[in-house]
């Protein structure tokens, strides 16, 4: 059981977290636009996330907080 919190307004949609997730659970939300004008990253399947923090490790903008 893990919980990811994205500070979505700061996301620049670079996709490094998407590539980093070993389970492929993160995607760029093409249907959403944040305050900065980017499509933000989001967790597609929270139930499957184990909280390994790979996404957070690769996020250049430090927008992901991980609990587990």
């Amino acid at each position: 059981m893990a919980k990811l919190t994205f500070r979505t307004d700061r996301c620049k949609g670079c996709g490094l977290c998407v590539a980093a997730c070993p389970k492929g659970l993160i995607a760029i939300a093409k249907d959403k636009i944040n305050q900065k004008g980017h499509h933000p990253a989001e967790l597609t399947d929270p139930e499957a996330c184990v909280g390994c923090a790979s996404c957070a490790m690769m996020c250049p903008d430090c927008i992901i907080e991980v609990e587990r």
């Binding site: 670079c14 998407v18 590539a19 980093a20 690769m58 996020c59 992901i64 907080e65 587990r68």
Partner: protein, 252 residues
């Protein structure tokens, strides 16, 4: 549940100005994590460069100085000599450290100045819009090498760790990369060691971080990380180039 990953305290809450996918942000975080873990924020002073990281003074919660282009090691020398109990680090890019500031870098290393140097090598000038850097690869296309870096015309890239490893002075030189989770973990360890060395009074510790510049490389952020594996690391092999206290001085 408990928090296992969050923004380190030593990073301010300012939104980083870097382009999407630029790995400067990762390295900033690693530096801040090292400061947090070592409990040195209150006595740390950082020196920002000229280049993309010029605004680093807004991103770290410790005291910060902004240096003239390339002069960060000299400014850090002054700060450290003024109060040796403080922990002083510079954060510099390749143009700053390996071109205009080569002399300051070499001589701070030769003096074994007890400072920590974080060196971002992304093989390009980012802030000014993608010109050839001292570390641009042979054949690399940039704004000022539009036909590819011609080594017969403008020479070869500078390998900073290898160059400095020939000196007796420096304590610790390591090259890391931040293009994968595994490499980020290794980079974190190296950066932390570079600060730990200073705390222990061991001397000049430089961590060269192979980084990406998706915007000026003209690639997606993910592709840029792959390019580090394909092109950068073969030219700039990762590893420890000097670790005097560990008795390992072999140049790789």
């Amino acid at each position: 549940m408990s928090v296992v990953f969050k923004k380190p305290h030593a990073l301010t809450d300012a939104v980083l100005h870097y382009c999407p996918g630029c790995t400067h942000g990762i390295v900033h975080r690693l530096v801040a994590e090292a400061i947090d873990e070592l409990g040195i924020e209150g006595r740390t002073i950082g020196v920002a460069p000229v280049g993309c990281a010029v605004f680093a003074y807004d991103y770290f919660t410790c005291d910060m100085a902004e240096a003239a282009h390339g002069r960060a090691p000299a400014v850090a020398t002054g700060l450290k000599r003024a109060d040796p109990s403080n922990i002083v680090f510079t954060y510099q890019g390749d143009g700053d450290l390996a071109s205009i500031g080569t002399a300051e870098t070499v001589h701070a290393a030769a003096r074994n100045e007890n400072i920590t140097v974080i060196f971002i090598n992304n093989a390009i000038y980012g802030m000014t819009g993608g010109q050839m850097a001292p570390t641009s690869l042979p054949g690399q296309v940039t704004q000022t090498s539009p036909y590819g870096r011609d080594v017969n015309h403008c020479g070869y890239p500078v390998r900073v760790c290898e160059m400095l490893a020939t000196l007796d002075g420096p304590e610790y030189l390591e090259r890391v990369a931040v293009n994968s989770v595994k490499n980020v973990r290794a980079a974190k360890k190296a950066i932390r060691k570079a600060f730990q060395n200073q705390i222990e009074g061991k001397g000049f510790s430089l961590v060269e971080v192979i980084s990406s510049c998706p915007t000026n490389w003209g690639m997606s952020p993910v592709k840029a990380l792959e390019w580090i594996d394909e092109k950068m690391i073969p030219y700039y092999p990762l590893g420890v180039y000097k670790d005097r206290s560990a008795g390992r001085e072999e140049a790789k």
